[in-house]
């Protein structure tokens, strides 16, 4: 069925949005094979975004952990994360659709920043909703967005994180749908979003495939990516789905893999979530027995989300994708380790993928050659990590 991955996906949205989703689906189908559109996006990704990004052999980590570790350097994309791949694609699409304004949600502020960049470049108006808790822990990105002319609105409802920012962005969209495009930042939401975002992010996997074949003459044994909503993961995995390559999605294990009545002390929806419907899609969701959505927990704002993209839920169910998790503490260790060993400061989100590899390199599970999708750089996280360090020293 259209818009479904097995039983996952769908369009669980208010009637107000149905015409907009149908329009988006129609226009995207037209544009995805339009040569002018493709060329324009390629050009922007290259000369504005800095693509292709390198596939870098990390020699010191490889030596220490005994397997060949490659990093796909999405941290080098303009803005500092993979988010721009999708933001440019969707903003360009929205512009072709005649939309004047963009709304978006953001967790870590990376998608908001990417949206702000795309909007400024294409001369569109942008409003970004961001949970008040995330505004606090990712201040630098708020400044960046505002500098590029984007209005940032802190969201005070619910858990004050990504989930609530999505709620608010959707409310804005239903009100202004006529001239506004909702530029969703991950492979979540109602159809056609999970497909569109995955397609725009697949540039990561396409490049990676070519690069690893050039360097190794062979495909890797495994690929590891962190998963919040799952866009950097789907982006690198998608071109490898038919290959004999093990795929690992690493979620935020937060403090521990436990749940209270209203809170999950982690954000591991693929590992721990139950079947449900959140933000327009049937997927795996952190929820209580009644179906009330739990507040998720993670040190990394970009992974702090109670849902996950429907296609990832499907790939886990059919056994193609292995869901894993890494706790806050191990993610911080990995953050420090990559900085010290390779001179690369990773985003806290990406540190979860790095953490999984260094914790499990010796188990044999990852094979001899592994590629980590280094989805972003860590500058945005320094302030909150310094605060965390000072707090730990004081107690």
């Amino acid at each position: 069925m259209k818009g479904y991955y097995g039983k996952y996906g769908g369009q669980f949205v208010p009637e107000l949005l149905m015409p907009a989703l149908e329009e988006l689906d129609r226009e995207y189908e037209k544009m995805r094979s339009d040569k002018k559109f493709i060329d324009e996006l390629d050009y922007l990704l290259r000369d504005f975004g800095g693509r292709p990004t390198p596939l870098y052999h990390a020699p010191n980590l490889s030596q220490k952990y005994g397997i060949k570790i490659y990093l796909k350097r999405e941290d080098l994309v303009h803005g500092g994360a993979h988010k721009l791949n999708n933001a440019l694609g969707q903003a360009l699409l929205a512009k072709h659709m005649g939309k004047k304004r963009i709304v978006a949600e953001t967790g870590a502020g990376q998608h908001g920043t990417a949206t702000a960049m795309a909007a400024a470049r294409l001369g569109m108006e942008a409003t970004v909703y961001m949970g008040a808790k995330d505004v606090e822990r990712q201040k630098m990105n708020v400044y960046r967005m505002e500098l590029m002319g984007t209005e940032v609105i802190p969201v005070e409802s619910g858990s004050k994180t990504l989930k609530d920012a999505i709620n608010e962005a959707m409310r804005d969209w239903v009100t202004n749908v006529k001239d506004t495009h909702y530029l969703i930042g991950s492979v979540v939401g109602p159809h056609p979003y999970p497909m569109i975002v995955r397609d725009f992010q697949s540039v990561i996997g396409k490049e990676t495939r070519q690069q690893i074949l050039e360097k190794e003459g062979d495909l890797p044994d495994s690929i590891v990516a962190c998963a919040g909503g799952g866009s950097n993961a789907m982006g690198i995995f998608y071109p490898f789905l038919e290959d004999d390559v093990d795929l690992f999605a690493v979620e935020a294990g937060g403090k521990e893999l436990k749940e209270g009545p209203t809170v999950a002390y982690h954000s591991a929806s693929l590992c721990e979530g139950k079947e449900g419907v959140l933000h327009g899609a049937h997927t795996k969701v952190l929820q209580n027995k009644d179906g009330q959505i739990l507040e998720s927990t993670s040190i990394s704002a970009g992974l702090d989300y109670a849902g996950v993209g429907p296609e990832l839920a499907y790939l886990v169910n059919i056994g193609r994708l292995k869901p894993r998790y890494i706790t806050d503490e191990l993610a911080v260790n990995a953050f420090n380790e990559l900085s010290r060993k390779e001179g690369i400061i990773p985003a806290l989100e990406s540190s979860h993928a790095v953490g999984y590899v260094i914790e499990n390199a010796k188990s044999g599970e990852l094979g001899d050659t592994v590629i980590i999708n280094l989805s972003g750089r860590g500058d945005k996280d320094l302030e909150s990590l310094i605060k965390r360090r000072d707090e730990n020293e004081n107690c």
Partner: protein, 262 residues
């Protein structure tokens, strides 16, 4: 009582239906019962009882806040159905909630609990008719109405789909946006209502809070009006709630009496 029968009864009296929304468990479970009785006394024809959800994307700040209060004070799906069983009334009750709560209980069980506790209809704002096949099947078995929405941007082919699948009434949203009471109806409502070719009753909701707006909607051809946020605001104020609810309801109902005069 079936919703369709209620509309027929009112039609014979030349009245439009006053449909009132409150959030169950706001501010607490006990008060909800009294508020329902106050609504009934004031003249409400149908009562929508919201089962609050943690992430109500179709609702504005007023109903969001009510949902938070209700959940914090212990409202959940079990206590919702217990409350419904406790309420003694002849007027139709409609369950309004979000799809994940229905899905989590199991569609079949949810509908069957609705039937057992006297619910006449179900509205799920994040379940468009395209995804509602299972719910419609189960509801038909139990004789429960499924109410779907038509919005200003709904194209003709979707209006037809909604009209075919709606039982009870068509929920006509006269403007873009979420629930809340700070809008004007504007002069496009008549055109919107005329454009909805259907033999099902049409009730207009979202943004109606005064008797004047009720009259306007009824004059434009609405068979019913739905008022929510204005009532929830009274509950939120905590001041003389029952009295004020009853008197606003009575006032709003007066606006429903002119049907068919123009």
């Amino acid at each position: 009582m079936k919703i369709a029968d209620k509309f027929e009864e009112l039609d014979n009296k030349n009245e439009a239906a006053l449909i009132t929304y409150i959030c169950a468990g706001d501010p607490d479970i006990e008060s909800t019962k009294d508020i329902v009785y106050a609504l009934e006394k004031g003249g409400a024809d149908i009562i929508e009882l919201g089962l609050p959800f943690s992430d109500p994307v179709a609702d504005g700040p007023i109903i969001q806040a009510a949902s938070v209060r209700a959940i914090q004070n212990g409202m959940n799906t079990d206590s919702y159905f217990r409350l419904l069983e406790d309420i003694e009334t002849d007027i139709p009750l409609v369950c309004m909630t979000y799809y994940n709560l229905v899905y989590a209980r199991g569609i079949k069980d949810f509908v069957s609990d609705c039937a057992k506790s006297g619910v006449s209809g179900i509205i799920i704002p994040d379940l468009p008719v395209d995804e509602a096949g299972d719910l419609i099947r189960e509801s038909q078995k139990k004789g429960i109405a499924n109410i779907f929405m038509v919005t200003p941007n709904t194209p003709a082919y979707r209006i037809e789909k909604v009209s075919q699948n709606t039982t009870g009434f068509i929920y006509v949203v006269p403007r873009m946006g979420v629930t809340g009471n700070k809008s004007e109806l504007g002069n496009s409502l008549k055109k919107q209502l005329d454009g909805i070719k259907s033999d099902k009753p049409k009730a207009v909701g979202f943004g109606i809070s005064t008797k004047e707006q009720v009259e306007e909607a009824v004059n434009d051809g609405a068979d019913g009006v739905i008022v929510g946020s204005a009532l929830v605001n009274i509950i939120a104020s905590g001041d003389n709630v029952l009295e004020k609810i009853e008197s606003l309801t009575r006032d709003l109902k007066r606006g429903c009496l002119k049907k068919g005069i123009n």
